[in-house]
Symmetry: C2
Subunit: 342 residues, 2 copies
DNA sequence: GACATCAGGTTACACGTGTAACGGTTACTC
DNA sequence: GAGTAACCGTTACACGTGTAACCTGATGTC
């Protein structure tokens, strides 16, 4: 029937290096030497060709598990993603890292959130015997880090402050975002400042520190400056309520958490008859292009992360010599882009 | 110095089940039986407790490579992501799938684009001996699929039309998006229709079929309907040029590729003095909340993908019995949401 | 008391790979 | 022509697991 498709039967076992050796008429060791290019001058060009042809013909692919078992190590880097809705900033960051790591001889995989607690998750990762783990969402416990280290993981990076003992900290201090926004609003003469707090629990990890940073900036400006958190569900109705509260509280400055929420708030403020920026100055974050399409154009806190290449090099150093890299490292740079909304 | 940290020396080898057995005073087989719950009534409760305590004390974690080597299979599902900037639709889809697969006993990992060609990529995946591969970006070759199958992969899913021989096709026919948009514009009496084509090469995989769908819908409406592709870089300057071309060509309908590009186009059209929807009717795609914030509110093609649970079940069926699932399956449902811009 | 049953383990092997240590030719040197 | 070096491979072992087959006392059964 499907003779040219040559789909294997129920379970034709995958070819092994022994099969290749048999077909090529050499020993299995020779196959290994040839296919790994680890034969100095040990194998003649003729034999190499035979081995390669045989491997090709059988469609031989080495078994990563067996290889890692024998070698005792793995070129695996685990990127553990957040369960929050990731923006383009993060996804670009991941992409750059996944792009750069192969150049250092690693293969990277991105893991989603694991069911169960953090310790279970750490055990699951440890089973893979990765060379390094980059946990880009906070939560990993010190015990989880110990589990990883004991199972041979050379380097564990974890996000945030305070650092987890035994791990390197990648610091993306969200407080700076809130602080930059509020500092700008203060500079514009605003004293009664609102901070949009998204209701999405996945965003609480970012929203909390941003609010804290906003409060810190307000506090350092002296008395008389108030900061009021304003919950906002990602709907137009909720935004209308937020606009009402803005008017009632007489807020003259608003930090919108990020550009998307700020855009939502802007529309609601305008629909409520409030003038932006005259009555209420508004600042977002992320510096999305779309936020420049509204009128007034939205002011925004721009965040930048280092290029993937740079972080890949850091990971490599940490793997080869864990003590050679500093315990903490700040990744994020913030910059305020002032436009018409503030 | 750091006695309480008890960081291991240069390389304390990870504990193995033999270490656990020694500490617990039993044989290695018993350890395996206990930790895998595969001992019917073979091991007394007392011994089990001893083994568990020993494993816990050593921080024992099994070696996934060795296990897969012995078992001959892996509960691994590879999700191969696109290198295109993924929208919230896709990321939600991934998330749902990663959420659901563990419930079927699989562990899923997300792989980024691999350097090298598709055949190299397929070989790299095959090394992991996955149970299934879901390649959610087109490009995988028939040879790549054969490589995977020969190395023991039970099911390979690949995106798009035409299907790759030997693989199951997940169809997300982007032509339907363009067709739905243009059908709506025709219904609104528009005859000279422009289609925004993003310059980003990563989006060409979507943009091409959407344009083709638009053309097909126009053709089926009879003569006199024209479709004109309009290139758009994701910048405001490029959008201004696009608006000029709209005027010059006298277009009365515009499909904006997606909501983000449509928003960009809308702003440019308005800045150029064109009335939307009177002069030019505009339709986007993705049904973003943000697109409802502009005035006029943006009409949009909403796309829906099945829940992760449903697809996870499909993957499981394909793994257990590859012949039991149909060769192709349409995932995407489109629906036009008419608002004020058309 | 001989024999079967059974609970509670253990021994032994296989999975596929990398590599250190060890041959067997052939050619070259004194 | 014996020693030796260079060339080209091979043999043998280890990595950490899971499990079928086997063992060993103790407890019933007739």
């Amino acid at each position: 029937m499907n003779s040219d498709h040559d789909l294997p039967g129920p379970a034709a076992p995958p070819p092994t290096s022994a099969d290749v050796a048999k077909l090529a008429g050499v020993s299995r060791a020779t196959v290994s030497f040839v296919l790994n290019n680890t034969a100095g001058g040990r194998v003649s060009e003729q034999t190499r060709a035979k081995v390669r042809a045989a491997a090709d013909r059988l469609g031989y692919v080495p078994h990563a598990g067996a290889r890692s078992l024998r070698a005792g190590r793995t070129g695996l880097v685990l990127l553990v993603g957040s369960d929050a809705p990731i923006g383009s900033l993060f996804s670009g960051f991941y992409r750059g890292l996944q792009d750069a790591l192969p150049r250092y001889g690693y293969t990277s995989v991105l893991l989603g959130p694991t069911p169960g607690g953090w310790n279970d998750a750490a055990r699951a990762w440890a089973e893979l015997r990765p060379a390094a783990v980059l946990c880009l969402t906070p939560g990993l416990t010190p015990e989880g880090v110990r589990t990883l280290h004991r199972s041979g993981t050379r380097a564990v990076f974890t996000l945030g402050v305070p650092p987890v003992p035994g791990a390197h900290a990648l610091i993306m201090d969200q407080r700076e975002v809130g602080a930059a926004a509020v500092a700008h609003l203060l500079e514009r003469g605003r004293r009664r400042i609102g901070v949009v707090m998204p209701a999405d629990p996945g965003l609480a990890l970012f929203a909390g520190p941003r609010l804290a940073g906003a409060r810190a900036a307000a506090a350092s400006a002296g008395v008389g400056v108030t900061v009021e958190p304003l919950p906002l569900d990602y709907t137009e109705e909720s935004a209308a309520e937020l606009a009402d509260r803005c008017r009632e509280s007489g807020l003259d400055g608003l930090f919108g958490y990020n550009d998307e929420y700020a855009m939502l708030a802007l529309r609601a403020l305008q629909d409520a008859g409030l003038d932006v920026p005259r009555t209420t100055a508004l600042v977002g974050a992320d510096d999305l292009l779309l936020a420049r399409l509204l009128r007034p154009r939205l002011s925004s806190v721009r965040m930048r992360l280092p290029a993937g290449e740079e972080l890949a090099a850091l990971v490599d150093r940490a793997v080869t010599d864990p003590d050679a890299v500093p315990a903490g490292r700040n990744l994020m740079a913030v910059e305020l882009i002032a436009r018409d909304s503030s």
